[in-house]
Subunit: 293 residues, 2 copies
């Protein structure tokens, strides 16, 4: 069994991005600038946004965070988005989700200029991805594709099963794996809560991508000998074996499944580290106008 090491790959990509940014600055060009809008005080959102700031610093990007009170009016938030849309010094920005209940999330997402939508959540970017045009692809599916590519995983003609049909993971990764690219060209099946004979389907998968959000859902009997398993889940559970009293686990029962497969992404250290790196890659593309000209 071979580990697909997301942590190591993410570090390599960061080094590559940092080298490219250094070249830009040596040529007296300004570095890429990623901005984030953070509404309210959700601890998970705060952690995520500060991780983004740190990652930007590591690769030499400029970054800025717009912190806004949770009782902000929608109109006011739309004005902030409009300001960022029009600021030529900002290449890409994200509005950290979730937003407070009184704000229409879709309305905010759709007010972001597609050419600055480095989170890839605007319908125009989703649509461009779906029909195979250049697009900002959201962090998790983008990270999975990049990781499979760098791990030299052959996907063409393979039977790929995706567990989960969410807009941020299952749906986009199923489309990407089925497109005429490498990685891609797989025969993709999307499973979800209404799927019958789930075990039968997963046990036939050459490549199994798990994004259910259910801790330890996938067990060894659900997986084919020699399969490739990508685990997108991440859950914090109690543990008496760690100092902190908790540990992180995935949607896949790693201990038993890893005995059976040819490749697997661990949790932590698999897909997780790839997501922020994906956002950096998108921001670099934005700086170079690679998607929208």
């Amino acid at each position: 069994m071979e580990l697909i090491d997301g942590k190591k790959t993410a570090a390599e990509i960061k080094d590559e991005i940092a080298a490219e940014v250094k070249k830009m600055m040596d040529n007296d060009e300004r570095p890429p600038h990623l901005a984030a809008v953070l509404v309210g005080n959700d601890p998970a959102s705060e952690t995520y946004v500060s991780a983004k700031e740190k990652a930007c610093k590591q690769v030499g990007f400029s970054s800025s965070t717009y912190k806004i009170e949770s009782d902000v009016e929608e109109e006011e938030l739309l004005k902030t988005v409009e300001f960022l849309n029009n600021d030529p010094g900002i290449d890409g920005f994200i509005v950290q989700l979730p937003l407070p209940d009184h704000i229409d999330e879709q309305k905010i997402i759709q007010s972001i200029k597609p050419s600055k939508d480095v989170d890839g959540f605007h319908p125009e970017n989703v649509g461009r991805m779906t029909i195979g045009l250049p697009a900002y692809i959201s962090a998790t599916p983008n990270g999975i594709m990049e990781l499979l590519k760098r791990a030299d995983i052959e996907t063409q003609g393979k039977n790929c099963v995706v567990l989960g049909r969410s807009n941020i993971v299952g749906r986009p990764i199923s489309i990407l794996m089925s497109r005429t690219t490498q990685p891609g060209n797989a025969t993709v099946t999307v499973c979800h809560s209404k799927t019958q004979n789930l075990k039968e389907i997963t046990a036939a998968a050459d490549i199994l991508i798990v994004a259910m959000g259910k801790p330890h859902f996938v067990t060894a009997d659900m997986v084919k000998e020699g399969a490739i398993v990508v685990d997108v889940g991440i859950h914090r559970v109690e543990s008496d074996k760690t100092k902190s009293g908790f540990k992180l686990i995935g949607d896949v029962k790693f201990d038993e499944v890893s005995q059976k497969v040819s490749h697997i992404t661990p949790v932590p250290g698999g897909i997780g580290p790839m997501t922020i790196v994906s956002l950096l890659m998108n921001t670099l593309r934005a700086r170079k106008n690679e998607i929208y000209h």
Copy 2:
């Protein structure tokens, strides 16, 4: 075996639309207006556009066709689109494809205002469909969904196999069948030219949707006893049994497959008649601002 009769269903829907238009006019509201832009003299395109005009007339829609010479400059065509985008008397319009080689088809499609894009080809409509927001869905997948719905085909939890991954049929129908709607909630597998063990996969399908563009590709041995088969293909082939010397056939070998299945769409008279009706349904939605408010 039961025929899923697209011709009859299309006629019923037209009657319903005509009744709704009559009501509008009785209330002194203007009827829906569908416009078409036709560039050049491609005979298939001319036939299709005049079929649209005829269908509009049948249900009481206004329609107009903008015929443009094939050597039109892209800039000029963009101006026509802009004019139609801004004309409040036109609810929806289509630019008939294919366009001449010197014109960037994607550029034209993307210049259409999404709220008037009743063909559903703009990335914004594709993206909205992909993430489950209200959207104009393109004619063929829209027609298939409507036909399955009216034929009371149970799709939830079923194993649905789609042959073909094109942007206009395979990809969108695979997404629609997998969404949390009725029809929908199926476990969907998308097959294509790189798929291995195709016969094994199709033979396990409860619902088989064929959009390969290969005459008589699907034979009886590829289909499960009691399956539901939707045939999107349409091919004109020579025949010594018809006066005209040709006949229309599908991607499915109807004579043998129909012996084995529980339901099947014929060719002609299956999906074909549903496509223009889909366009009428989208135009009616546009008139009522149902998708974009």
